[in-house]
């Protein structure tokens, strides 16, 4: 495909990604008669938002006393004080309004007998700034993400948003003045590229859980928008912060809820030892997620793992009895029977820490504008926005609280939509497209068209190696030595990318080519993650260094920024000043 024959379309706004964040922004725009296109690599309602079961936090005070300021405190404390307090205030203040708005749009939130929206308690929620447990999470049964995603999709159809289903985004188009002018995308069905020119572009492509061998994420979560930003010269923020859950099914990744240990389940190593007694003598198997995750990783590293590869530990539930198990943990019993052919009433479950959520991402402010450091301050990149898991606004800081991710996507999806409307009023005309940038994106795509099949690496082989390296060197057990080894591994994989071959050069639904480009994205993000983790010499939230076990607010109360060019690091301050209330100063994070 030459640049002269390239098909082109023009829109006011291009939204890349059709999860909750992208669809909420698109709806805000389409309802204001903005000409908006949404590009999604899978059918929109198959986006990963559909998997969010827990719910959405908002201080409605329907079940227990609550207010947005307590929610703000909990979110800042949960973030281990790395969250930006202005963005967190904005999110917590907006939450109640957005729950009611979603309800009016059609989300069937579960209700109490009184008719009010039911709210369930989640970890990390408190009343009165660290007091009694709060109940803040609004849910539509156990399928809140599904309900929100379908509602937003249908509202977008009503508002006449234009959908490009099954199109893969390749690269952002940028001009010499730094404006983002849209993106080159690929129609998966035909294999033909399409240039979508847009006055504003919003990235909402989700997280990058596929970086790790054991993860809870759908296979689509390959961090495409994050890698596109890196290639466009934009840094990624706080990539060292990745949330892990201690008990994923080993080799598969699906979560075994903490409820299993709450009911009396416990972990054992290959010697049958209940090893959590050594790591947390009082709390044992109910110690916090990071403590349990690290204990499992240490057992495996020190050769006390189970199975032929000694690469997991076992979760014992059989002593609870069949009746208790099938009554209280039916979902876990179903999961184990289906995926492991194990009956937990008779056999233990192989488990290992599983990667769950990308706290880091594309740096944005609370308007969804992508921002980069300039001199002593920062400036927005004209025409570029990001929201949701691919963005780092940063409301989750070093650790996300349950129920805050669905809130994040609707709050900042809407905020970005509103800011884009303002931008469009001030920028009424399309800028001249930068043909050189388009050519570069086409060259990137052609690399896979012209791959001659003589390379020495396969996509699947390199991807498996990358995921294993990330699990071995950059998951829950981090030291200088291990991360240094990890960096060498991922840099080696980065070099080997040029040897990757694809043998299928057909056009129609050539998924091999898509998987190759996804791997390219993952490799860039792996380097960003390991490099950021190596440089941060403290333990904070999800980033736990065995050699720097304490949080260091003097040296490290700052955001990391990783640039692809030269694998360079930079830092910027955390915004400690909220919009209207007093700062919550950093304190020891004790629950």
């Amino acid at each position: 495909m030459s640049i002269e024959n390239l098909e082109r379309r023009k829109f006011d706004t291009l939204v890349i990604g059709a999860g909750g964040g992208g669809l909420r922004a698109a709806l805000q725009l389409a309802e204001a008669d903005t000409h908006v296109a949404v590009v999604s690599k899978v059918f929109p309602t198959r986006s990963h938002t559909v998997a969010a079961q827990g719910g959405m936090n908002a201080a409605l005070a329907n079940v227990l006393p609550d207010n947005w300021h307590w929610h703000m405190y909990d979110t800042i404390k949960g973030s281990d004080y790395l969250g930006d307090q202005d963005a967190i205030e904005y999110m917590c203040r907006s939450a109640a309004h957005l729950v009611y708005e979603l309800e009016h749009q059609g989300v069937p939130f579960s209700r109490m007998d009184s008719g009010k929206i039911y709210q369930r308690p989640f970890g990390g929620q408190s009343q009165n700034f660290g007091g009694e447990q709060a109940a803040r999470t609004c849910a539509a049964a156990d399928r809140t993400g599904h309900a929100i995603l379908h509602t937003l999709y249908q509202q977008n159809i009503r508002a006449k948003t234009h959908f490009f289903d099954e199109y893969f985004a390749i690269d952002l188009i940028k001009d010499k003045d730094g404006f983002i002018l849209g993106a080159l995308v690929l129609e998966i069905e035909t294999g033909e590229p399409l240039l979508i020119e847009a006055k504003t572009t919003l990235l909402a492509t989700g997280g990058a859980g596929q970086l790790f061998r054991t993860n809870t994420n759908a296979h689509i979560n390959t961090g495409d928008g994050l890698a596109m930003s890196l290639r466009a010269g934009i840094p990624l923020q706080d990539m060292e912060f990745f949330q892990f859950h201690p008990t994923g099914i080993a080799g598969k990744g699906m979560l075994i809820t903490e409820g299993a240990r709450g009911e009396g389940g416990y972990l054992v190593n290959k010697d049958g030892e209940r090893f959590m007694e050594r790591y947390a003598p009082h709390a044992k198997d109910l110690a916090s997620r990071d403590v349990v995750s690290r204990a499992i990783a240490i057992e495996v590293r020190e050769g006390r793992g189970c199975g032929p590869n000694a690469d997991h530990v076992m979760l014992k539930l059989d002593h609870l009895g069949r009746d208790v198990l099938y009554k209280r943990l039916p979902g876990i019993c179903d999961l184990c029977k289906t995926f492991m052919h194990i009956d937990p009433a008779e056999e233990s479950i192989p488990v290992f820490p599983t990667a769950h959520y990308t706290m880091g991402g594309i740096p944005t402010n609370r308007y969804g504008q992508v921002v980069v450091p300039v001199d002593q301050g920062e400036e927005s990149i004209p025409g570029l926005y990001a929201v949701g898991e691919c963005a780092c606004v940063s409301v989750h800081g070093a650790n996300r609280l349950g129920g805050n991710s669905l809130l994040d996507i609707v709050v900042f999806g809407r905020a970005a939509g509103n800011d884009i409307k303002k931008y469009l009023k001030e920028n009424r005309h399309h800028r001249q497209i930068d043909e050189e940038s388009v050519e570069q994106a086409l060259v990137h795509l052609k690399r896979w068209d012209e791959s001659d099949g003589n390379g020495s690496e396969t996509v699947h082989g390199l991807r498996a190696e990358l995921q294993k390296a990330m699990e071995d060197y950059c998951s829950v057990f981090r030291t200088e030595e291990i991360l240094q080894q990890g960096l060498e591994k991922v840099l080696d994989l980065e070099k080997r990318m040029k040897n990757v071959r694809i043998t299928d050069h057909s056009k129609v639904f050539n998924t091999a080519r898509i998987e190759a480009m996804e791997l390219e994205n993952l490799v860039d993000l792996a380097v960003a993650t390991v490099k950021s983790a190596l440089e941060r010499k403290e333990s904070r939230g999800a980033h736990s260094r065995m050699d720097y076990p304490d949080r260091d607010d003097v040296s490290w109360l700052k955001h990391s920024l990783y640039y692809k060019e030269g694998h360079r690091m930079d830092y910027k301050p955390v915004t400690l000043k909220p919009i209207s209330v007093d700062t919550f100063p950093p304190k020891p994070r004790v629950y």
């Binding site: 899978v42 379908h150 296979h219 990744g253 699906m254 179903d334 289906t338 995926f339 492991m340």
Partner: protein
């Protein structure tokens, strides 16, 4: 020339249609396509394509055995997908 509704048309899209929003579905559907799909009779293949049109949450209910599709052929193939999932994938 292939047209929507033709089995051959659907088969070109098959692997991408198995990319879903949940890890559980990805694992089950991809395993089934890899291990079983090619050997299926045409009627069962068509039922599988029908199954793939379901919304993710309903699909999960069907594949985890928590609900049963009303169409018997689709219900049969949902059970086959569930049976094909396992530890060795």
């Amino acid at each position: 020339m292939l047209f929507p509704g033709d089995l051959a048309f659907d088969e070109t899209r098959l692997r991408w249609q198995c990319r879903r929003g949940m890890l559980e579905l990805d694992l089950m559907l991809e395993t089934f396509v890899e291990k079983r799909y090619a050997g299926l009779p045409i009627k069962t293949k068509k039922a599988f394509h029908q199954l793939l049109k379901c919304q993710d949450q309903f699909l999960l209910d069907y594949l985890m055995g928590q609900d049963i599709p009303t169409d018997k052929d689709v219900a049969d193939v949902a059970k086959q997908v569930r049976d094909a999932a396992g530890p060795g994938d």
